[in-house]
């Protein structure tokens, strides 16, 4: 913990001493302290591999909301809340979208949201962190983990790429296995707007 705090402080002091040129350096989580709401311009992309290769199932979620707070003094105290509306799923074909919305997968008629609430944030590099939290889908809550990389920030906004591999079977969404992988790969570009 001391190491991480030192790292954050070093980054912060480096920013203060070299002022303007600091923007040219790799972005640092600690410098981006503040509260943000997740912009609708963010991109929530997912893929599910299929047996024997091929494209598998890929898509995006168009509707979501969330907020997060980066604690500059201690990144570990940062937090995030995220809500996804699976009804907004977009895939290659309408029939895939309808299947994903159906009772076989998200069951959007009965479960309107998928939520994630962080329980711990661990900084793994100046611009990286692992976020652990409780994900709730189809009424089931499980601990999941995402890898977060800070890609850009300025005074008003901040951007991350977030990756995570979620097993779907524990949420009662095992339909299609083993033709389609049990693991859903999330690849998200999240943009936060300072509140």
């Amino acid at each position: 913990m001391i190491g991480r705090r030192n790292l954050a402080l070093t980054a912060l002091s480096a920013l203060m001493t070299i002022a303007l040129p600091a923007r040219a350096q790799a972005p640092s989580l600690a410098d981006a302290a503040g509260s943000y709401s997740i912009s609708s311009s963010s991109r929530i992309h997912f893929t599910v591999g299929q047996t024997g290769g091929g494209g598998g199932i890929a898509g995006n979620f168009a509707k979501f909301s969330g907020k997060f707070r980066i604690d500059g003094g201690n990144v570990a105290h940062s937090s995030v809340e995220f809500t996804l509306f699976p009804d907004s799923v977009r895939a290659r074909e309408r029939r895939i979208e309808n299947f994903l919305r159906s009772s076989a997968v998200f069951d959007t008629a009965n479960f309107r949201t998928v939520t994630f609430r962080s329980t711990s944030v661990t900084q793994t590099g100046p611009d990286r962190a692992t976020v652990e939290g409780a994900m709730t889908a189809r009424g089931k809550t499980r601990k999941e983990r995402f890898a977060v990389t800070l890609t850009d920030w300025d005074r008003r906004s901040i951007s991350f790429t977030i990756r995570g591999s979620i097993r779907r079977a524990p949420y009662g969404m095992d339909v299609g296995t083993p033709i389609y992988s049990n693991v859903v790969e999330f690849d998200m570009d999240i943009k936060g707007l300072r509140r």
């Binding site: 047996t51 024997g52 091929g54 299947f99 009772s103 076989a104």
Partner: protein, 206 residues
């Protein structure tokens, strides 16, 4: 006896006939339920996979059946069959053997042409590659209609085929159905001349 005789079917023909018959009727039932009835989407997905795996099995057996039909001899018609009946029976059997092959092939074409590009994972054991067809909505729709049409034609012919067999059994009281139910002992085929007597003897022993 494994092979067909002069006056009766061998075990291979009989086993293939009934296995394929059972498979095809099951496939038609699954096909109808998964396409024409509003059911649970997860169950529907599962039925599609069963339909594909069983369909590939039916295709394999139908190919064996066709090869065996060409390679092995065809028993003589049951005595007392009118020429028209014999002709109709032969035509029906030939068409059924062809439909048994091309209907599952058309089903394979549906899976291959589908824009879903979903692998055919045979009983979750091995991936069967797609046929080299272009994947498009129109191509998929064409093959789906063709597959269904062939299946309905086959169903109609199966109904006629089964009705004819039952008619022969219950109304005419001849051997038509019986000889697809049990194989004769080899003695029936010792000679064509005294075949009838040997048949009776063989039938009596059972």
């Amino acid at each position: 006896m494994l092979r067909n005789g002069e006056n009766g079917f061998g075990t291979i023909t009989i086993v293939l006939h009934w296995t394929i018959a059972l498979l095809i009727l099951g496939l038609m039932l699954i096909g109808f339920v998964m396409r024409r009835i509003e059911i649970d989407p997860a169950l529907q997905f599962s039925l599609y996979q069963w339909h594909k795996s069983l369909g590939f099995t039916a295709l394999g057996l139908a190919a064996l059946r066709a090869i065996w039909w060409l390679a092995d001899r065809t028993p003589r018609p049951v005595p007392g069959l009118r020429p028209f009946e014999n002709f109709a029976a032969r035509e029906t059997h030939g068409i059924l053997i062809i439909l048994g092959l091309i209907t599952p092939l058309a089903g394979w074409a549906v899976a291959s042409a589908s824009t879903l590009n979903m692998p055919s994972f045979y009983f979750n054991i091995i991936v069967i590659p797609h046929l080299p067809l272009s994947q498009s909505e129109s191509s998929e729709a064409f093959w789906a209609i063709t597959h269904a049409f062939l299946a309905y034609v086959m169903l109609a012919l199966v109904a006629i085929h089964a009705a004819a067999a039952l008619y022969h059994h219950f109304v005419r009281g001849d051997e038509v159905l019986i000889r697809m139910l049990r194989s004769r002992l080899g003695s029936s085929d010792v000679g064509a001349v005294d075949g009838r007597e040997a048949d009776n003897a063989a039938a009596g022993r059972k």
